[in-house]
Symmetry: C2
Subunit: 245 residues, 2 copies
């Protein structure tokens, strides 16, 4: 049966962010999608429908500074977007109280997802091409970051002690799927390596590379590859959880 | 069709170790099984038959100091057993020249498998409850190791720079499956964490934990869990490789 879809306005302080809830009947869990910088919830809609068909209540939303709030694009900070993610998480938390949400984040959204785990219980994490940033400048506009400095930072081997996002990963005890793009020039493979070596306590860890793909998965075949990896992972995790419970 | 099975005697210098080859028709690859300390190829036979049915020529064998050579159990060193593994690898290498063997190692066999990757091309690695040892004492009888010291060593967080096996892992660029037993008192979870964080260059990494299981997988349900994980992983890797080629 097709999941029910509902457009929602999620309050974040005095702001609002636009979201969409995909609600199947008899849900087994919840999943929050967090899109990347310069993207929107549109990138997540198809996958949210698919994951909803597996019995997960899904929520997609537009980060502040994107889509309807794109006039604030140059002003939005990581702090702003972290508050968006927390507010969206709390929507799902209320919808299904017996099971904490899992998070599916891409790029900047993956980075925010890892930080969320240090503030909220998160059941599992899917990180596609997760980005990494220096801890400093948290309240600086994200659009103002020095690209040269950022590129250099992303070439470094960084331990969990040296970065808040990686430190959060090192404490995370749920299931983790990390997907990297083989030909990613925005987030090089060093970054995915930093992430996956940080997850020393994860209940399970799955790292996959999409052959030939770029950061944005700009060809349909790469989008399909990612969807297949995601679906396989959900099937395996579901099969395990159903047996245990 | 049932794979052909053949008992072989593998020369290792002036010694011989007993092995079994499982040869399906039209093989797509080869797989070497390396058993754990105080075990024998018997632990691998069923799984070798299964993996052979997926089109892999499999080789199981008895490490020196085990089964027919158990009277040398108290004398066998890691150097001895490493030579066994290399000799067994070379058997498979000759059987199918166009594709380097993958290795499936359990406990001590997993440790030896990782070390093999620094001496021979290895296509992929499956490590079940891989053990870890100090580099020193390489030519000392394995049975003479100080158990208290070993247990203490296995509680430590060890980087790839500090251990030859972990260093080999840090250079490995193939696909990796690591399976740990949740209630393993021989190889605690610290060790699996050291292994999986070492694999910073792996093409893919899959880490799974068998719930409630002990080190030896002494209950049939845990053996089944491991077989299922192994089969799932083979199916996924095969599907990917078939599409690429």
């Amino acid at each position: 049966m097709t999941p029910k879809e509902e457009v929602v306005a999620i309050p974040v302080g005095i702001r609002r962010v636009a979201g969409t809830i995909f609600a199947p009947e008899n849900a087994v869990g919840t999943a929050l999608f967090v899109h990347g910088w310069n993207s929107s919830q549109a990138e997540d809609i198809d996958r949210a429908r698919t994951i909803a068909s597996f019995g997960y209540i899904c929520l997609t939303f537009d980060l502040y500074g994107h889509n309807a709030t794109s006039k604030f694009h140059s002003a939005a900070t990581r702090e702003d977007n972290m508050l968006d993610v927390i507010a969206a998480y709390e929507v799902l938390e209320k919808v299904k109280k017996d099971s904490p949400p899992g998070i599916i984040g891409a790029s900047y959204g993956g980075y925010l997802a890892t930080l969320l785990t240090s503030r909220k219980p998160v059941r599992w994490l899917v990180l596609r091409a997760p980005a990494l940033y220096r801890d400093s400048g948290w309240q600086m506009p994200k659009a103002s970051f020095d690209r040269t400095d950022l590129n250099a930072y992303r070439q470094l081997v960084i331990s969990a002690k040296e970065n808040r996002a990686l430190e959060a990963c090192s404490r995370f005890q749920g299931d983790v799927l990390i997907v990297e793009s083989e030909c990613d020039t925005i987030v090089p493979s060093t970054v995915a390596a930093n992430y996956r070596t940080a997850f020393a306590q994860a209940a399970s860890l799955t790292f996959r590379r999409i052959e030939s793909a770029d950061h944005a998965l700009s060809k349909p075949v790469w989008q399909d590859d990612y969807s297949k990896l995601l679906i396989n992972w959900f099937k395996e995790m579901n099969a395990r959880d159903l047996r245990i419970s």
